[in-house]
Symmetry: C2
Subunit: 135 residues, 2 copies
């Protein structure tokens, strides 16, 4: 039996100007986009665009002192994280931990009915990785 | 008639240690991977992994004085570029140029039978964007 592989859920990019980025990716490039939304408790404004079977997430910090703002100030615009879906998140986290992979969340967290966990960039080659539970 | 939308071809990440990154993304996470290959005229070693309908490209600089090495030294590991496929690259480049988008390649270049052009980060919100011709 073939093992089900991870797939891409979304690519999250940090930008300095969400409106201008939406004009490009949504307007000029033509990716279908949802309306931008503010996430007050994270101090960011975000928007999702459809990219084939996956999505592009654009994130703009609205404050100077949160993690996304510091990331943007330090590294400039670019990738914030990749999010992959895995068939069984609990099993995968146990496997990764047993192999010495550094997990930010040892057990899945949940938001809007979606179970997820983050893997530390130290174990991925420098990229913050979010894993979604496909189940 | 519905207009055909751009889709994701690959996500290219710069890493400092291609072997370690392949161990994680290919081995521990389980993405199917091609063998790593050296691109002598660009001074890099790369590998592609399958990610659903798209691919993840890992790039490690092999020299200190090329663009990828400077990018890694300046920004750390992370996104190098995104590559999207568009239905008709010539038409799309003309449209983008007419809208004031800054193109690195005004007309498509070709490599291995693949027609492509790069869009400057100044027009995308800070992300280097490669466009492939789907035709």
């Amino acid at each position: 039996m073939e093992v089900e592989k991870p797939s891409l859920n979304h690519i999250a990019l940090v930008v300095a100007d969400l409106g201008a980025a939406l004009d490009f990716w949504g307007g000029q490039l033509g990716l279908p986009s949802d309306a931008a939304q503010t996430i007050p408790d994270e101090g960011v404004e975000i928007a999702f665009l459809q990219l084939g079977a996956a999505r592009l997430e654009l994130i703009q910090p609205l404050e100077q002192d949160n993690g996304v703002a510091r990331y943007l100030a330090k590294r400039g615009p670019g990738l914030h994280h990749l999010c992959l879906e895995v068939p069984d998140l609990d099993v995968k986290l146990d496997e990764l931990a047993a192999q010495g992979i550094e997990l930010i969340n040892d057990t899945p967290r949940e938001r809007d009915g979606r179970r997820y966990a983050f893997v530390h960039p130290a174990s991925t080659g420098g990229i913050l990785l979010e894993l979604y539970d496909r189940n």
